[in-house]
Symmetry: C2
Subunit: 593 residues, 2 copies
């Protein structure tokens, strides 16, 4: 179907349902970052494939809202004669609600209630009702209804992991969840797949890049129930779950289970769908951030050890790749280089595939922040511009995410200047000491300050949380200009990834994952503040020494780089072949020699 | 009346009105920072004199909520056997609402509706109604009702200023206000005294420290009305106002004028009182930040020139004081030194008195962030600890606010270390380049980073807006960890005042006022960001060179200090007597000699 046909078909259905607009967000019933094909309604409908972007179709007009990461991509993929691109700014309130509120007429906006969170539904309803309009739940997804052969949802078998491997048994985690519910309510409804995977120590293969299984969970003081397609759970797995006090029921039984709940039901309004809310009609609702999200964010000692192990292995793969790249780049393209990197990772024990779609961007492609190379866009690597690679791996012991930017020939003064400014911010963030209570918004400028000094900036956040053998983007914490109260805590893992993008020229990003560690107790603070925290690098891959502009680096920064490179040598060198060892020794040789 | 008698009398009245709690905020009908004596209900009732703090009295219990600046002072002034001190944390939601929400019973809370903003009333009502409670407007102020001889409100004559003196006529300002109302509503209701003074180019003497007159204003497309006690406006002033299209009516006529409004009335829910809202019952309300607040925040060229002039004169006074202090400190006390500083200011042309109550704190008194010296607390200055003076002046051309910390003998290594760390933050903020769109929260850490590195911090914001011959604390912008979306803009004035407080030992604060200036256009940004801004110092008084720890200063910082001191010499030296000139030349001599 062409876009014209798709618009016509949808508008026909809209008229049948007597609605003025139909809302097609990028999200699915579980608010997955990587939405299964069967639930990719927005991408299928609009041709825009970015991970964030919501479509609103009217009888005459159509809009796509997306953020700074995707402006370029949206302009390329969207049929701009039919869609208006709504450029969303970071750190501001959801502009669809605002836009709806500004339409000073009574509008009926339809939506599939499974793909909208409770909070989104409430905001849209508030905006619409200000002018007598209404948000209309339409049980049948109208985009699905237009398709004759819908892709089917994946149904892969699950694995149940031992408590020792995860640092805590499912039983212990469920007990902690119940403890946190005390005095708040009678049940916890969990709809986020990574929270379900963490809580029950299960993993699946239903979602690209992340070892998740499609399921719901319901925990009361008596019961812990996993709602899942029953053919995904073998007899052995069912037994393992039963030993942890977990009952398995069919995925489709969830609706009836919700309807039978009474008392006070706790759920996360930013994750649970409007459909869930409509089904918990008999109970009172208590809305809060999922306690599982909070518990999962602060890693336990086994998870920390696992993340360090994963990063050591990942460093071996990425260092092999960088060493190979320097020798063998000629004749390679963005796609073939990414494939080579994947092959190095695959050789590592416990590797389970990439943790997200590799961004492999040469030259001006590096300036497209979330560039996804396709055969149509693929270009050969060269030695007269920068090459940016953002990639990560899933390992059974942890998850990695690393960006390195390199130059395979003689970098220009401009390349060096901007690479060094990005690196200075990356180092400042890594070495910043910050107090308990600080949220990401309070330290974000640490990574931007040197760029600002040179009148440049980057249009994305500086860091995101990361799961352990789970999602590469994990909440609740993040480091960005968003005005979000979510204090950074000890043993959270965050990325540290400042960048710089010169459209049409090149992009730079330098990303490590870091563990937040305590460096001082409040009792030791002369002004009685704190405790104080600092980040420690998990990632162990050298920076690009030929891209350093030494006029811009302080002695302190050079010392930091040398100490990091020394640590890489000490940790990784022994695991490399002789050729790669030689490359790493050169890459990590002290700078102040 | 003792506190026991006051509590008993209030509780008696509360029972008559059938309320469970009575709320006594520190605020008055105009949300003045400096509340006239007649409206100082909270201080009169509780004995706590800090500028921020709200009291809630129950039939058995009583509470004071205040923030980190006032914890020490509240502990000293409050009778802790009758009050519970509720320690409020910066950047978090108003905790009275939260507390009310947590009392899981239907409470009736009484309040005088004139002293509560619409927004506060709404929040408290929401919290109370969750458990079936109610916020009850009681027209008579119960604290006033307990007093036999209430102080009367001041009624000083007003001055009408010429448009040339203020950079724009009242007529022009009213026209800009009307323009900003287009499409939003039919009238603007203004209750903030500084906004009224700015809009109508009038000044008064009703409020301590700030040249304001108690009044209300109402602007429609036809009319601009000043509601004010008529005996404060002479015939000449009435004529001057009429020439600008401003009608004068009696202060008490405001209630009837509000009641007669129809259509859509615009007001600032964070400033206008619940009483105002109750009186605009016939009209629809449109709630927004006052456009006057936004207009006033960005200074015009005449205001900027006036502020520079005021700071030049203020520098002369403060430099004379510091020079005198170094020679004559023996035998002086916190009070006598503050008086001497005031006398130097008074000698300056156009000086109109202090812009706030001087903080003059020696040694451990410096650690009380908003210390107000009284004859009971006054102590002699010495030469073995730090002395902190935070003061400012009102001049007819502008308003100043400066803090300097000095040592009159041999500072210890600890004094130098912490002074230098505070100064490094102050310099980093002053020289930070930041992009358009950044709010104060995004740059606040610039001033804290070096303190954090040494595991210390300060419990107040880094900067506030400042008016021109108006309030020394002016919105909407501020620089603090508060999660507030209020981008810093060109030609705003902000203070830059990091500090450090070691309870029982000493306090350090270094404060300059700065003008935000554009340093780069977006068109000149390689990444298409910006425009970019930087602060420029208005304040022109040297830092304490004997408190510098050179091991902690970079070459760049020393250069910045020297450049600042050189600029002081160039601007101020000619206005000083010979003795003070010699002192200033020593104080400003280059550091890298």
């Amino acid at each position: 179907m062409s876009i014209v046909e798709r618009l016509a078909a949808l508008r026909h259905l809209m008229q049948q349902h007597q609605i003025d607009y139909y809302f097609i967000p990028s999200s699915d019933a579980h608010q997955n970052e990587y939405v299964p094909d069967a639930w990719q309604r927005r991408a299928w409908f609009s041709d825009f494939t970015g991970s964030a972007g919501d479509v609103l179709v009217g009888l005459q007009d159509a809009y796509l809202w997306t953020d700074g990461r995707y402006f370029l991509q949206a302009e390329q993929q969207l049929d701009m004669s039919h869609f208006t691109l709504m450029r969303q700014q970071q750190g501001l309130a959801a502009p669809i609600d605002q836009w709806l509120g500004e339409q000073k007429t009574a509008l009926r906006v339809g939506v599939d209630p499974t793909v909208l969170t409770m909070r989104q539904a409430q905001r849209m309803q508030t905006a619409l009702s200000a002018h007598g309009g209404d948000l209309v739940a339409i049980a049948e997804n109208l985009v699905d209804a237009m398709q004759s052969d819908l892709p089917v949802l994946p149904r892969h078998p699950i694995t149940v992991l031992a408590g020792e491997q995860m640092g805590a048994s499912a039983q212990e985690k469920i007990a902690r969840l119940r403890q946190s519910l005390q005095g708040r309510g009678d049940a916890w409804v969990e709809t986020a797949l990574d929270n379900i995977a963490w809580l029950f120590n299960i993993r699946g293969q239903d979602i690209d890049y992340i070892p998740l299984t499609i399921a719901y969970a319901l925990v009361t003081y008596d019961q812990a129930v996993l709602f899942i397609e029953l053919d995904k759970v073998g007899a052995a797995q069912q037994q393992q779950l039963a030993e942890q006090g977990i009952t398995v029921k069919a995925y489709d039984d969830f609706a009836a289970a919700l309807q039978s709940l009474s008392g006070t039901v706790c759920l996360d309004a930013g994750m649970a769908s409007w459909w869930v809310q409509q089904h918990v009609a008999q109970a009172e609702l208590h809305v809060q951030l999922s306690p599982i999200t909070s518990m999962k964010a602060c890693k336990n000692p086994v998870e920390i050890a696992g993340m360090r192990q994963a990063h050591k292995q990942d460093a071996v793969a990425v260092i092999q790749f960088l060493s190979w790249l320097e020798r063998e780049w000629q004749g390679q393209t963005e796609i073939s280089a990414a494939a080579k990197l994947a092959s190095y990772r695959k050789a590592q024990p416990g590797e389970q595939g990439p943790s997200f779609a590799t961004i492999s961007g040469y030259g001006e492609h590096g300036a497209i922040i979330h560039y996804f190379v396709t055969p149509e866009t693929d270009i050969p690597l060269g030695n007269d511009n920068l090459y940016l690679v953002d990639s990560g791996g899933q390992y059974t012991c942890g998850t990695t995410d690393i960006t390195r930017t390199v130059h395979l020939g003689e970098p220009t003064a401009e390349h060096k200047k901007y690479y060094t400014l990005v690196l200075k911010g990356h180092l400042a963030m890594r070495h910043l000491t910050f107090p308990h209570g600080a949220s990401g918004v309070h330290i974000d400028m640490s990574a931007r300050q040197f760029l600002w000094q040179h009148h440049v900036d980057y249009g994305h956040g500086t860091g995101h949380g990361v799961g352990c053998y789970l999602c590469v983007h994990e909440g609740p914490q993040r480091i960005s200009p968003g005005l979000i109260h979510q204090p950074l805590q000890e043993h959270m893992i965050v990325s540290n990834e400042p960048g710089l993008y010169l459209p049409g020229k090149f992009g730079i990003r330098i990303e490590n994952l870091c563990l937040i560690q305590k460096v001082a107790e409040q009792a030791d603070s002369a002004s009685q503040h704190g405790p104080f925290y600092q980040m420690d690098d998990l990632t162990l891959v050298p920076y690009a020494r030929d891209l350093l502009d030494f006029d811009l680096l302080t002695a302190q920064e050079i010392e930091w780089i040398d100490a990091y490179h020394q640590r890489i040598l000490e940790t990784v060198l022994g695991d490399l072949d002789a050729d790669t060892q030689a490359w790493l020794q050169t890459a990590c040789a002290p700078l102040h020699s």
